[in-house]
Symmetry: C2
């Protein structure tokens, strides 16, 4: 596996190969990331993974400082998966003039769900993903549906900015007990981890009940809220999967519904969601 | 000269040639545009000119409706200059899903000069220029310094979004009597045209006086305002050419100063500027 640390080397590598599958990450890899890598392996001639903890997308500096890093372990996992190149640019390489003042913004979409609670977060995500695409020049790029809003925004950006890449959304991966995989889970104590299970349990219950009580939205919402009550919840509700508007009336709804939650456990912000049709 | 009307054809053309000089325009070409074309001819193997009256950058729908169009005449001029390809995409081709909801924004820079009076204008400019770059893939792109703020923003965007293109600013072109060339000049009556001369006269006088009265900024500003008094002025002052901040004190200033004016004559919005060192 080749380690690439500069934009110039990345551009040269990309120029030599026109069928790259790309998995951009912030490192501290888990099975969720590896599922993206495997999908990329299956669908492309070459697979490039990037690790860059992007300061521009952390609205909370403490979260940035605490973000776990273990490049050596990550590199071992990626090598074992047969990844062709690991792109590891420094902050100076990515932002030689400091974080740009340019903002890429979808006003309505970014005002909902996580966007409403993390000012500047998705603007930072779109900027880094745009620029990674410019360097890696992938044919396909893979994102987990755990960050559903992120996936939706990146897909729209790629279309609206005419980026020649297929943005592929891949299923969320859970632990055997249901907890959604996240690099931040490592910051939970054993008790916190148990507490965190309430999120996936409430979501999976909401999904089950959705088909039985489709006409009874107030009941479904109330139940979700009750199930999450012990946690410090940021948002938890039923959303139109295309517009991310909270659904007030199922009869007017588009085919896909997103049930999504953000909550804090032991000061760690966790998100999870399920898609229902 | 090849006429290209679709993105697919433009991409194929761009893929075959890696040294394209590009001049994006909104048509109704004059000597200012042709000076960009000649510079592009001198510096590149192939020259591509685009004509697209971009609805997304008109904050005033009436201005969009009245924007002059004469493709046949433009094509004749460009052919005579030896342009290799004229890219003429339709609105449907450029915005198949309607004008995108994505905004590209420099908060501070867009709040000054024209940006302060034309909400959404530069966001629309950055979007179309970004996407034209994605289709034409130029090595160099040429913009007139008459639209100085536009040039500055595009240059910054190209750097911040890692677009592999040199953004080249080219000198403003004037009529023999000093009037800055503009496609909108055609909408002026003979009287209006005479009235419009006050703009370039005031600017050229300000430039002359700048070296003599550098320490006397209030005098210079007052004189510029007085000279433009008969017109309906939107802005007229001395700005830091890098930040576009209005200069309050020359002693603290960066090497380049922009003296810039926007004013209405017979309902036509005219802009002009001079750069001084």
């Amino acid at each position: 596996m080749r380690i690439i640390e500069t934009k110039a080397e990345m551009l040269a590598y990309a120029a030599a190969d026109h069928d790259i599958g790309f998995v951009p990450t912030m490192g501290y890899l888990h099975e969720g990331h590896l599922s993206l890598v495997r999908r990329a392996k299956a669908e492309n001639k070459k697979v490039v993974v990037s690790i860059f903890v992007n300061p521009a997308q952390f609205n909370d500096p403490a979260d940035f400082e605490k973000y776990p890093v273990d490049i050596a372990h990550d590199a071992g996992l990626l090598k074992a998966e047969g990844v062709d190149a690991l792109f590891l640019p420094s902050r100076q390489e990515v932002y030689p003039h400091g974080v740009p003042l340019l903002t890429l913004r979808y006003e309505a979409l970014m005002g909902r769900l996580c966007g409403a609670f993390r000012p500047g977060h998705f603007e930072g995500v779109l900027l880094i993903v745009h620029n990674l695409f410019m360097w890696v020049k992938p044919a396909r790029a893979y994102f987990g549906l755990k960050d559903y809003q992120q996936y939706l925004l990146i897909q729209k950006m790629a279309r609206d900015l005419e980026l020649p890449v297929d943005v592929v959304g891949c299923p969320l991966v859970r632990e055997s007990d249901g907890l959604a995989l996240s690099s931040r889970n490592v910051r939970l104590s054993a008790t916190g981890r148990k507490e965190a299970l309430k999120i996936s349990q409430a979501l999976l219950k909401a999904k089950r009940d959705f088909s039985r009580y489709t006409q009874n939205l107030p009941f479904l919402k109330k139940q979700l809220t009750t199930d999450l009550a012990p946690l410090q919840v940021e948002y938890a509700s039923f959303y139109d999967a295309h517009t991310l508007e909270e659904i007030e009336d199922f009869s007017k709804v588009k085919p896909q519904v997103l049930i999504a939650v953000a909550a804090f456990v032991e000061g760690v912000r966790l998100i999870d969601n399920v898609l229902v049709t």
